[in-house]
Amino acid sequence: MAVFANASLAPCALHAFYERPDLNKTGVGFVFFFPHTDGLSEQFVAAVVEVSEAPYTLYPDEASRPKTDADIERQLKSVMASLSAPGELGAMLARLAPEPMVIAGYIDAYAYASEAGGLLFDGWMPNVLPASGIDCENIVVSFGGEDIAGSGRIVTYARPNLPEGGVGVALLVNDAANRKDHFISLQLEIQNIQVTLSATATTESLPDDALQSRLGLFVGDSIAQGPASVLPVVQSDDVVRQPLAALAPDVFFHIDEVIRCGGDGVAIMGWMLAKPGSWRAVSLRCGQGVFLLDFEAGIRVARPDVIAAHKDFGFDQPDCGFVVWVPGIKPDKAGLVIEIEGADRRIGCLDAPQPVLHGLSALRRLLSSAEPRFSDVRSAFDRVFGPAANALRADERAQPLSIDVLQFGTVPTQCRFSVIVPVHRRLDFVEYQMALFSSHAGNDHVQFIYVLDDPPRRAEARRLFPSIYERFRVPFTLVTLDRNVGFACASNIGLRQAKGDIIAFLNSDVFPQTPDWLNKLAIHLSAKSRIGAVGPLLTYEDGSVQHRGIRFSRLAEFGDMHFAVHVDKGRRPSADKKLQTHDAITAACLLMRRSIAEELSGFDEQYTVGDFEDTDLCLRVQQKGYTCAVDPSVRMIHLERKSQTAASELWRLNLTLLNAWRHDAAWGHMLTAKEGAA
């Protein structure tokens, strides 16, 4: 009630309180609005108000004078400008203004909400609404084609990273049909405030039901703040959602990386510290789908760094890190949210980072995340690394590959041999190889095929290879790929170009010392021979053995899987030059009849980068009833790359283990049986 000299006014219609820093917390600023249709010239005497059931009497001070509308407006505006104005004050100002207040905001995303049967919008606007949840009668939504009108509800919520005075706004337009076309703006009016929310260049039209999970968090926050009612579609039950931090100090959780593996699932790396009994389940929400994370089916990783950072909380879980494979998820633009159900059934939510890596970098990151040993190896690969890598591989193989073929000189008309050399990184090795080949006789029956599996070096190759032909005058085919595909695939691409009766797979860092190497080795591959694959003796530069045959050995440290061992590696070569059969030979130099190579479809391209594809080929050769052999009278130098050690790069070791795992799945039983029989 406001009391004037000769009149008193009805109860105040609008009120707003605001912080007054000059009062130094001893008091609070207020604005009261008493509607009165006539003008008022009486002196203001006092106001009596009841706030929270307590009566206050307010008296004017010396400076109080009636002011004009413009003065009031100006004063109120300056108050609003100097504070982060609460909605009530803005609403009051809007009410006082002779014209409706026009407020402009923006829509970030919209999507159809199937349960509510309406369109859900998410954006932001200046914070002027009188309450955080308001029903509206007439909302007009403009699309490219036409306008629709409907009723709905608007809810504001606190959102970080907005301009000063901004607030997040979520809006549901009821009974609106599913529209995907170009959204332009929507308009509504609330208590003399006209709100227009417009699209921007980055406004997203999301798939159906893709917006709820994103909004769930924020609406949850606003529940915590006050009694504002909620958009019914966001909550399908009475579950309380809150930020993950609310579960501390009983539960701490963090995601380091999410790797999307094609369309078939995601691999998640992170860590979790939780007091026993403080949590029930951890799930991953993607749109409307919820996927339970099963840590028992994942890989546990030691995380001393995490333990150290949380040492004051009394956790005793050194293997708190995890790598988990979640099949079936197709992450979309809406993103992934981790939901941890606490003991009291409240859900702690955490935005998972968006997956960003692809192809080889994704595989590398995946394989850098854990270091399984001994009996952990097989389960790690069976449950996580294997399926995730397979999904990544399938995705990659689906990418188109562009192949460019360039011929230098002419292909021999009578082509007895095709030498296939994949090239990566060291293009100058081709110079050395070709210089050597040019000193051999009999090149007119040889088709040399170089496969450049190194897209960044194509420009360098374009400069170097013409000079190689001009200098050495040995005709060759150059196949260039626009993607790095690895040894197996590159060799197979070379095989498809081959015309010779006999194929020689050759590494770029192998240099024949016996001039007539092709003919000498091919003698063993005559039509009647039972030899399916033959190779030479390979030595290091110092003349010691690099390869003269492969046998298999099981390594306990790596899950008891079978690994290739080079017989006599590092020793001086024996004087015995007789042909020797072996379980397998290296593809660093391997000759076979083209008919057999084609029958076997070359190397199995599942073997990534390199390793085991040659032993796999040799075992398949033997499955066909042939043998594999080494002829030590033919010698070559193999400058094998020395840095293959585990210490330097974990992912390389794990890649080898991945190939070993694949290999063992195919051949493990057979090799073990052979061992038993021997």
Binding site: S438, S467, R471
Partner: protein
């Protein structure tokens, strides 16, 4: 190591007036019009001498590295005379001496096919690339390919010096591990491949000429078959009339330094020795330094000039000299000092000193020790040891007769010199 001796020309079945002229090409990596290094000067001198031979049809192929001349497309041109060709060089791989110039193989083959040499004597393979031997073989399979080795480039990636990159210590032998220690940016396998590449083309060469036994031994150790290497000095200008200059009983003893002003050539050793003698109060020894410092780095040049500034009166810097004046200048000194700290091969300055009958005082290593017999052609001192040099020279000052006897001995020696006939017998393969 067998030393080939001069032989008569092999007797043919035709009377001599009907024997066709021997067609000889001389190939160098530069041309005296562009630079005055020992290799190209020796090659060109040989070419001129062959031009004077009646039964020889000869021409010269050099290189222009400057990139200045641009005849738009023609890589082999003739800016000087009918008998001289210049290859305008392109991109070159200095690690394994590979020539990546796309036009070169065709053009050089055409040149060799047209000129049809019987013998091609290379004084270098740099700028052309080692592949040039294969290009030549392709068009002239029966041609005799001869290569004079002027330094150790095929063996040593450190500018062919066979000295280490860190402290410039003489290195006796290459290996992938030792080479990698000098050049850690390369792998041992890179040095293995480098040698593989060079030797693949060296295999096509019929004969290697080494100007010193020391160099010959290094290459045989490296892998060139012993029977393919012969020791023969480079051709020199005609021997001048020399005036003896015996040291007097009193008066200054003049020692001359001739050549590039560089650390490798021992200029610091000389300056240190001079400073030592100065501090010991020896006033009758003076050093005449004749040389060029323009090819040195800014830092080296500045260091030398600073030392000159502080040097005593026993050092006189006489600046650079024209090669034509060397005889006159050498005859103005009592002896010539060659204090190089690397092996050297067959330094031109030693040959010039001996032709002028001046004793040579040199380091006791490599090609120097080979060409200068201690007590016969001159005197040795411990390589790099300034004090040893100072002691030796102080001895000469005290006992003038020592140097006088040496000078007398050299006057009596008959000068031996390589002649063009020595080369012709190698070309004809008659030894």
């Amino acid at each position: 190591m067998t030393r080939r001796t001069k032989n008569d020309r092999a007797a043919g079945t035709l009377p001599s007036h009907m024997v066709p002229p021997l067609r000889v090409a001389i190939v160098a990596h530069s041309h005296p019009s562009y630079s005055l290094g020992g290799g190209e000067i020796a090659a060109f001198r040989l070419f001129r001498a062959l031009q004077d031979c009646a039964d020889i049809d000869t021409w010269f192929l050099g290189c222009d590295r400057s990139g200045a001349a641009d005849h738009l497309g023609a890589v082999i041109t003739q800016p000087f005379s009918d008998a001289e060709f210049i290859y305008r060089t392109g991109p070159f791989d200095w690690f394994k001496f590979a020539n990546t110039d796309l036009q070169f193989p065709q053009e050089i083959e055409t040149l060799f096919a047209d000129r049809a040499p019987d013998v091609v004597h290379f004084h270098h393979y740099i700028n052309f690339g080692v592949e040039v031997f294969a290009h030549l073989r392709r068009v002239r399979p029966a041609c005799r390919i001869i290569v004079t080795l002027h330094e150790y480039l095929a063996i040593c990636h450190n500018s062919g010096q066979m000295s280490t990159t860190d402290h410039r210590l003489p290195c006796r032998r290459s290996s992938p591990e030792r080479c990698r220690a000098c050049f850690p940016q390369y792998e041992t396998t890179d040095f293995f491949l480098r040698k593989l590449y060079i030797q693949r083309y060296f295999d096509l060469v019929d004969l290697f000429i080494a100007p010193s036994r020391f160099l010959a031994e290094r290459y045989v150790e490296w892998g060139i078959p012993d029977e393919k290497v012969v020791v023969l000095e480079n051709l020199l200008p005609p021997i001048p009339v020399t005036n003896p200059l015996p040291p007097q009983a009193t008066g200054p003893l003049r020692f001359g330094y001739f050549g590039q002003i560089s650390t490798l050539k021992g200029i610091d050793v000389l300056l240190d020795a001079a400073a030592l003698l100065q501090s010991q109060g020896i006033t009758d020894i003076v050093f005449d330094i004749h040389g060029d410092y323009r090819a040195q780095t800014d830092e080296a040049r500045a260091r030398f000039l600073a030392r000159l500034d502080k040097a005593g009166p026993n050092i006189r810097f006489r600046g650079r000299y024209d090669p034509d004046d060397v005889d006159r200048l050498m005859q103005g000194v009592h002896a010539v000092v060659v204090p190089s700290i690397w092996w050297e091969n067959s330094p031109v300055v030693i040959q010039e000193a001996m032709r002028n009958k001046r004793p040579v005082i040199c380091s006791n290593i490599g090609g120097m020790a080979e060409k200068v017999r201690d007590g016969i052609d001159g005197f040795h001192f411990e390589a790099g040891d300034a004090m040893a040099l100072a002691d030796l020279l102080r001895g000469f000052s005290k006992d003038r007769s020592r140097l006088a006897r040496q000078a007398e001995r050299m006057q009596r020696q008959r000068a031996t010199s390589v002649s063009v006939d020595d080369f012709l017998s190698l070309y004809r393969g008659s030894c």
